[in-house]
Symmetry: C2
Subunit: 719 residues, 2 copies
């Protein structure tokens, strides 16, 4: 339990870091009255939106809790509520810092680039540490309570069920937050651009545009709050389900099992410490490269995590060469479930692994993190072929810009897929499915740093908007623009990272599903072979989900943006003083319209992954019996990742590339701002907006929800 206490301590340190750093941020000068006025409007809008969003989600959550209580019991319900509340808290607090840091970043950028960078990054780091800290605290706390206080066995059913329910709570909130926030931010962004830039011919972030505050609010509720909820979910699901799969799959003495289950917690803990150290390394060098400064922090964290993880593993497991598990690892089972194959008993010779094997698996996780960051930067950075090819294609018009962007978005799936495939094979060779779980754990352990990089983005985006609206000098806007361009890449990085972890987690989740199935329904012979047509049916229906979900997301943005356009046109028509600059537009009215639209639009698509697994199970069971129902449901879980991985990566990388192709042209290439190429690039950017910020990122929580609902359905059917 010392290990668990230490992990909880690290979680507390992360929260404390957030608290202390928040004080620093808030103490920074908040600019002149006009800037504070604008910032207040953004704060107000963001609070109003999140308040309403969480009310709506709260109602759904309460209904789900009422369903859970009789079906899965009090512990699962409490676990669900903790996950749901903390996911909301991570997003809410992150957003609250972000809407205070934006104006202070703009003020700091008046003096120096370093000042702006420090403030924006610190603000992002608060969100990052909160995500990791609260995530770790919730998992470790539940484990500690059930094992140390309530006296459960570490692999007891209640531990497994409560951790699964925790993950469900986090996932359910995060899909709403991701999708609702994503619809809000892009509806406001696209709407503001359409009436502002295109119809009225006023620049971006012009205070005369009634949608301009809504646009800035969107950055905070989508890119900050929604993202934080999403990454909290990813963290909890990955670490929690690593523990669950150890509990389900490893047969070892209680002592050893306890140690093995505590290892992910400790790894999470030490990586919080390395992430905190990393945040202090973010400094501009002589080259004044912002990306370079952020990379310094990132690579410091990654490199320090290598010895930290080694030390943690050695401390927890003692002798790193000692064999864990061994031949009696799993009762082979003659019930038709290929659990032997799950653990690859033959493939890796007796299925015993050592601490050293696990260490290498975690190194694979860190390597995947580094590679995914590098690949995403290649596909979305302005220095490389993909973005430049889109910029060049813009010369020949809107159509060729979009064609090239789509080609890049399709292409961008290849390298991440290969990295994930190699990682799965390598981790599996070391320690079977448990090895894959540990690779996913170390990948997520550095989430604090990765989220910090991402949450930095909306702050700089807002800072630029405030500088523009408050009429600050051009050099300030130049500094905030430089900060913001890097933000486009870091935002894409987190999305690729989250979906990459989902692909690794998919195997682990499927392992949990088959093991649960075997435990709950020992009398059934479920055939998960690809020769079973119900497996194909499940794969196809699972693969359909990201497409349908993407279609809903894109349509929702289109519809909500249309509402914005209508409102702004009405404001311009009824109050001509707005365009003349003599009277102030009714910002709150537009915020209110987007709020209502986003909340209305997020409900149905979010329920798709919750209800689909249940529907597939019951329909197939009715047609072909329970065994085929479970087969189709299991296959659906893999179908959703097999297609979701590609849909999500193509959308997020493609969208980032379109955005930066526009920025690249605005930097004076291919004719620069105002040229025909620029107009084409603006079209591409608009297309990429809902791709990268609404539909694409929400695929990640969607995949997880589908999987967890299946696990809960199993438990409910058995109970």
């Amino acid at each position: 339990m010392t290990i668990v206490y230490f992990a909880m301590l690290c979680g507390v340190i992360a929260v404390l870091y957030g608290f202390v750093t928040a004080q620093q941020v808030i103490r920074a000068p908040a600019g002149n009255a006009k800037m504070q006025d604008i910032a207040a409007a953004i704060q107000e809008g963001a609070k109003a939106y999140l308040g309403r969003q969480y009310t709506a989600i709260g109602i759904v959550g309460a209904i789900v809790a009422v369903i859970l209580l009789p079906t899965l019991g009090i512990y699962s319900t409490i676990g669900f509520l903790i996950g749901a509340v903390l996911s909301g808290v991570a997003g809410y607090v992150g957003m609250n810092i972000s809407v205070r840091a934006n104006v202070r970043t703009a003020e700091a950028a008046r003096t120096s680039l370093q000042g702006g960078l420090t403030l924006a990054f610190r603000s992002g780091a608060i969100t990052g540490m909160l995500v990791a800290g609260l995530g770790l605290l919730s998992i470790a706390g539940i484990f500690w309570y059930l094992v140390a206080v309530a006296g459960d066995a570490p692999n007891g059913r209640r531990v497994i069920d409560t951790l699964t329910a925790l993950a469900f709570g986090a996932s359910l909130i995060s899909i709403f937050a991701r999708l609702g926030g994503g619809i809000f931010t892009k509806a406001a962004d696209v709407g503001a651009d359409l009436v502002g830039k295109v119809e009225a011919g006023i620049p971006e972030d012009d205070p005369r545009n009634p949608a301009v505050i809504a646009d800035n609010v969107g950055d905070n509720v989508g890119d900050c709050a929604g993202m934080a909820a999403d990454l909290f979910e990813t963290y909890v699901v990955t670490l929690g389900l690593t523990m669950v799969s150890i509990a389900l799959l490893v047969r070892a003495p209680t002592e050893q099992l306890l140690a093995l289950m505590a290892l992910p917690l400790l790894v999470g803990g030490v990586c919080i410490l390395t992430s905190i150290i990393g945040t202090y390394m973010v400094r501009l060098g002589s080259s004044q490269s912002i990306m370079g400064a952020l990379y310094k922090g990132f690579w410091t964290t990654i490199l320090l995590s290598v010895p930290a993880i080694y030390g943690a593993t050695a401390y927890v497991l003692g002798d790193l060469r000692a064999v864990i598990g061994g031949a009696g690892f799993l009762d082979p089972g003659t019930d038709g479930l290929t659990t032997e194959a799950t653990l690859g008993s033959e493939a890796i010779g007796g299925m015993a692994f050592t601490g050293m094997d696990l260490f290498w698996c975690m190194m694979i996780g860190l390597a995947v993190t580094g590679l995914l960051v590098w690949i995403t930067e290649y596909y979305t950075g302005t220095n490389h072929r993909p973005v430049r090819s889109i910029a060049k294609a813009s010369e020949t018009g809107h159509g060729t810009n979009v064609i090239q962007g789509l080609a890049i978005s399709l292409e961008s799936t290849a390298l991440p897929t290969l990295v994930i495939v190699v990682a799965v094979v390598a981790a599996y060779q070391f320690a079977g499915i448990i090895g894959v779980a540990f690779a996913a754990t170390s990948l997520l352990a550095v989430a604090g740093m990765v989220v910090a990089l991402d949450a930095y983005g909306p702050v700089t985006d807002n800072a630029g908007g405030i500088a523009e609206m408050a009429g600050l000098p051009d050099d300030v806007r130049q500094r905030t623009d430089a900060l913001d361009a890097v933000g486009n890449t870091t935002k894409a990085v987190t999305k690729g990272y989250a979906i990459g972890s989902a692909a690794l987690a998919a195997l682990v989740l499927f392992g949990a599903y088959t093991t649960d199935l075997r435990e709950f329904f020992p009398e059934l012979t479920v055939d998960f072979s690809l020769s079973n047509p119900y497996v194909i049916v499940g794969l196809l229906l699972g693969a359909l989900l990201p497409y349908l979900f993407g279609a809903f997301g894109m349509t929702a943005v289109g519809r909500a943006a249309g509402a914005v356009v209508k409102d702004v046109r009405e404001q311009f028509a009824s109050n001509p003083g707005i365009m003349l600059g003599t009277s102030r537009p009714d910002y709150a009215r537009t915020v209110d319209i987007v709020t209502k639209a986003a909340i209305r639009e997020m409900i149905v698509p979010s329920l798709l992954p919750v209800l689909s697994p249940v529907a597939v199970y019951f329909i197939v069971t009715a047609v072909a019996g329970q065994e085929q129902g479970f087969a189709a449901l299991g296959a659906m879980l893999l179908g959703v990742i097999v297609s979701g991985l590609f849909v999500a990566i193509s959308m997020t990388s493609g969208g980032g590339a379109w955005d930066n192709a526009k920025k690249y042209i605005e930097d004076g290439n291919h004719g620069g701002k105002g040229s025909e190429a620029h107009k084409a690039a603006v079209t591409g950017d608009t297309v990429g907006d809902p791709y990268k910020d609404t539909a694409g990122p929400a695929v990640n929580p969607m995949i997880k929800i589908t999987n967890i609902v299946a696990l809960l359905l199993l438990a409910a059917l058995a109970g």
Copy 2:
């Protein structure tokens, strides 16, 4: 053998129909000298392109034949060559009729809409009947020769191998033809639009545009020759592999086996007859609805096919209630391969089926055909929500047009997937995997009619171009435009139909793969369970292929279109008389440039599905042993369809919807031609071009190639 003779007779009738109808088309008046002059330029360009394309393909084909001869023997090599040559012949002859029918359709449209419709549709019907007739003749001919002349058992290895090689030849040619033709047609189309409409401000099909002939050539080499080669491949693969899977899976007396294997041939034969009758029903009613006229022909064929298939099944199998196969159907096998599950021994009670079961499976196939046509028309027709929503979104600009188009393309995958899933389950309930194969067979049996509807499209497209270039009166152009708008929908229909059949065929192909594996490597225990990580690896790598292939296709069009733009700009600059209309542009030079670009660009992407299965097998085998190599390869075959189905449907339906949204606006909605909405719709149309005519349709042969290469690899490794 009487049945086989009758099937061959039907094949001959189809070819004769083509010959006779071709005489009728050629005898029709070919218009004035100017029209003939233009048509001659198109003919010349199309011939020059196809000549070069087939030379390039011929070299690849010869290399493959040289590899096949020592590895798989003389019969497989001959089968490969027959498939390759006939696939080429179907495309070549179809194109030759098409480039003669175009000018005659324009001439006929001078007098009446009915005249133009009859000529264009007759020309399409020639291609359709050739595809079905040559396909049937080749399969029946090989079967007849080996069984009746060479004395092989109907399920002898040589029959299986030669039919598989026949399918491989057809597939290999068709992927090159589809992709090369697709790149040609869209590079010319996009390039011509970019310099013509956008830069020079001249209308579509203006004779001053040097790329205008290349654009019209493209319709013939892409939409006609490429499509015909593709559908020939689909026909041969589906019917041929239905026979192969009967040979591999059904254990019955030779007499019964022979009858069962001849049934797909007879069904193909009688459906050629119903298709021919259907072609005579295409007549405008009092409503003058062109789509209605085409539907009359289509539904006549479908409805007549119901009794025809019933009669054929009853004739071949005698008593429709007698049980075929039965309990001794398959030796259960204890070697780990779940072949029992393949046949669903438990699910359908002893795995016996009756003739009536097969009849119902074939009715399912016809129902799928009808439903896919109806769904495609819903998503791409101008009368329904999807196209209209894109047209409406065009009002707010290029960006919202593309966003809505992408949303529709994602959404359009849902209904076809559900139809396919239900069809798989239903056919499986009737007769297991053999039932699914028969559903695919009846789906493809009416290919003659479906291809006729499609091949009608490029003829009317060309007729419109010729009318414009020859300066025919406006009412002629109006008639050809009306014919062409319907062509956009019928072209989308065939693509959805082809990919739908691929999804049904996937299960059958996987069944053939597992059975072959078991026969060739009885000592191996290959685990195709989803719990095996190498299965996940195979699924992910398979799912990647359509994305990478799509990226290559889209990029190729972009690059080749860029070459067209450059050439046209040079021609305008060096010869100012072109724009004044005083001197004739060098059409042949542009055709030549597109030809070279298309052939260069088609090679690498086409080799992707040929080489990937081989690479995956050898790499995974090197890492984890042969059993896992076969597991990953098998999973790859399903991964490619699980993602390819969605990529292909979203691209082809989305592209068709974009195209018709533009047409809908041009009909005077949302501001009509020249409005801002129209400009946005032109962008959407441009984006949809490579989606629907290059990348999307080529996914179908790509999926088949991957599967067939895997089957051949198995045979080569065993031999």
